[in-house]
Symmetry: C3
Subunit: 301 residues, 3 copies
């Protein structure tokens, strides 16, 4: 890895990235350039609950990345936290890709505000992987929002044809009130007592705006439990997962599953058929998590 | 689904149902009629600890149901909660079968006291599935007792011959004292801090009355972690699971397991041989759960 | 099993035992004699944090044992707790091997201070198994330090060749201060709120003294989550597990995993290649556990 000082770009990302529940298009090359910058940004988790998050790209969780087995990923990250110094103290950040096999001491190093980090890795294994900031105190960086999903497709894509695909990252928010804003609360994070548990970063957002499918569709979900602490018992009401690929690797197939248990930083691909028109909820079947926000709807027309 | 108003039957269930640790006989037809009513009923969890539960059938957890892949299940549920209005406020309830593939918005609708719900589904996948009330606040309905197990057998039954079979549902109780009775406590449920964790609904009941087998028996357990929140690390002291079928599907086989980790709403079938005469404890190997009641005995003569 | 009263031996163990992260040599016989005694001993978990632990052998967790499928294990355990009566009340103890198939009522009986327990078992299944004291209150005995790992190799050893092997036991400490010492705290154990979560019993010990490997090495870790309560989301930063064998049985293979979720008392064998020179952290990716000590380093020269 090497560090440079360059003019900060206008946008916070570049390359095959998208915001969940979408998937980025895949780049059909031997190498793929991806840039995901770090910034400090005010994020709203639920109505009336905002805090100064530390984000990859523009959201919590960060953007979904998508590459292919065998591709060389040329990665760049600017630390933009100096741009918001008047509202949030700038600080070093880093990035750790679970999809990479590299020396963390080198590639996952922390960079200062104003610096840009550059390294490359080859994606060796297909799957749904986590990325996150690895700068100490890591727990603090993770609960501040610095997590996301990178999908690595097999060389010929994931086997089987599906009608709809969505990406869903579950994570916990540990917050406490501070005047009209909220701030992260390391104490409740150490006690594993979240204030919110969300899909793609917003309390019950897909109850308000369901994911849309058609009756009879085969649906594939790329899911990641970004933690920082709890397991997720991911379940879709009204259907059964005919395939579950643990950590997103087709070799790790379970069939006919009602629920998939994901450890903190486990991913999965789940597929199911939508049996008829209707409204199908997806939840973390630890129902305390549902109360804390981990519920969404899939509307089948 | 459709709703009717009819005379409430004398009994609370009909069809292939049994109370755990038993298994119902299977009905050998293309269709099978099952009725499980909802009532409000005083339930005793441990000595001196009773509360007004909301139950399927007559117990917490509800009765075990058993059907076969390909069968059409014609299901009926009366909401009998009006019958105990003087001691427990009547209210709407519903039922969600993890074994079904249907529109939840239609089939899993809430019905009022005095109403009867009717719908049907086809059992597509073999396994050990959860059912539960899905009426908001779902967490409240689940911790009030509204969970149970439905077994779906493969068309030719589960492979292999066993000598003894039992059903075991683990669930958590979140209670607080209110005069001489107890009542459910949503706060401790949200904090994932149970008062009791039990097998088939009663604190250490199988320490008092062990399950009975013979030395040399091959034993099959149908187990379900009904939550509402925690994982279960199910273990039998003194033997090893030679087969574990995750969510009860023979395709998902693990071998030689000491412990099976079940997410909230995961089931499993485990098989083991009883090596010699003796007393074998079964536990949730999260030992806080054992202190809270999740221990039983198997006595081998 | 039978109990004797004999002179207490000079050392606390005999046979194929080693202290983690090491592995004992395997004995190449049809039978193997192993002795692991119980004692009460002052143990230091972190700087300034010592308590009177109840230990197998000389450490918390106890020594790693290693046998082979088909071997008859002739086991002996002295209860040495009477030797430290002036500082820690002597008491009965026992041992429960998850690798054995025996009547717990007989073999896992409690013995008094000054007694020696003798029993034998055949190791039937390959794997990474837990052993622990099973004397009530078991939760108290487990959090006092009475847990360890026993490895059972297939008859021809575990398949595949590796360059380096280490053993890692994760466990939780539930302590509270008592003057200049600490003591176990059953209350926080019942609430599943540990003070420390460690690898091989010492807070962040492998951050101070990393495990040493070479770039390009294929590394095999024998891991055990001894609990007593939480799951472990075991992960190595900078690489991917190309093989995971759940509970250490090669039939239960997952591939290309970023993280393996271990229930309380689940083991696993994980293998990975060290891609280049560098420093690779291993963690419980529930990051509260990292704050509580569950982080170590692997240094690749
Ligand atoms: Cu950071
Ligand atoms: Cu459900
Ligand atoms: Cu209900
Ligand atoms: Cu045990
Ligand atoms: Cu003991
Ligand atoms: Cu990580
Ligand atoms: Na959970
Ligand atoms: Na479902
Ligand atoms: Na648990
Ligand atoms: Na056992
Ligand atoms: Na955990
Ligand atoms: Na990694
Ligand atoms: Zn540059
Ligand atoms: Zn492959
Ligand atoms: Zn609908
Ligand atoms: Zn009717
Ligand atoms: Zn099949
Ligand atoms: Zn006995
Ligand atoms: Zn002797
Ligand atoms: Zn084999
Ligand atoms: Zn380095």
């Amino acid at each position: 890895a090497y560090i440079t000082k360059e003019a900060i770009p206008a946008t916070t990302t570049d390359g095959p990235v998208a915001y969940a529940p979408g998937l980025p298009a895949i780049v059909d090359n031997d190498t793929v350039a991806i840039r995901v910058d770090v910034q400090h940004k005010k994020i709203t988790v639920a109505e009336g609950v905002s805090f100064w998050a530390w984000t990859f790209g523009d959201s919590v969780p960060g953007p979904v990345l998508r590459v292919r087995v065998g591709q060389i990923v040329k990665f760049t990250m600017f630390n933009r936290s100096g741009l918001t110094a008047e509202v949030s103290p700038p600080m070093p950040h880093s990035i750790d890709f679970h999809a990479a096999m590299v020396d963390p001491h080198d590639k996952y190093r922390s960079i200062n505000p104003g610096e840009a980090l550059h390294f490359q890795f080859t994606a060796n294994y297909p799957g749904v992987f986590m990325y996150h900031c690895g700068t100490p105190v890591i727990l603090q960086h993770m609960i501040s929002g610095m997590t996301g999903m990178i999908i690595v497709e097999p060389k010929n894509g994931f086997p089987g044809k599906v009608d709809k695909e969505f990406t869903i990252v579950q994570n916990e928010f540990y917050l406490k009130q501070n005047d009209s804003m909220y701030e992260t609360d390391v104490n409740s994070a150490r006690n594993r007592q979240p204030m919110f548990v969300t899909f793609n970063g917003k309390y019950k957002q897909y109850v308000q705006s369901p994911l849309e499918v058609k009756a009879g569709d085969r649906v594939r979900l790329y899911i990641l439990n970004a933690g920082a602490n709890l397991t997720s018992s991911f379940h879709v009401v009204g259907t059964i997962f005919d395939k579950v690929w643990l950590d997103g690797n087709p070799h790790n197939e379970l069939r006919g599953m009602q629920t998939v248990e994901l450890g903190s930083s486990n991913g999965a691909i789940v597929e199911f058929v939508v049996p008829e028109k209707g409204t199908y909820a997806f939840v973390d079947h630890s129902f305390a998590s549902v109360e804390q926000g981990a519920i969404g709807l899939i509307e089948a027309k």
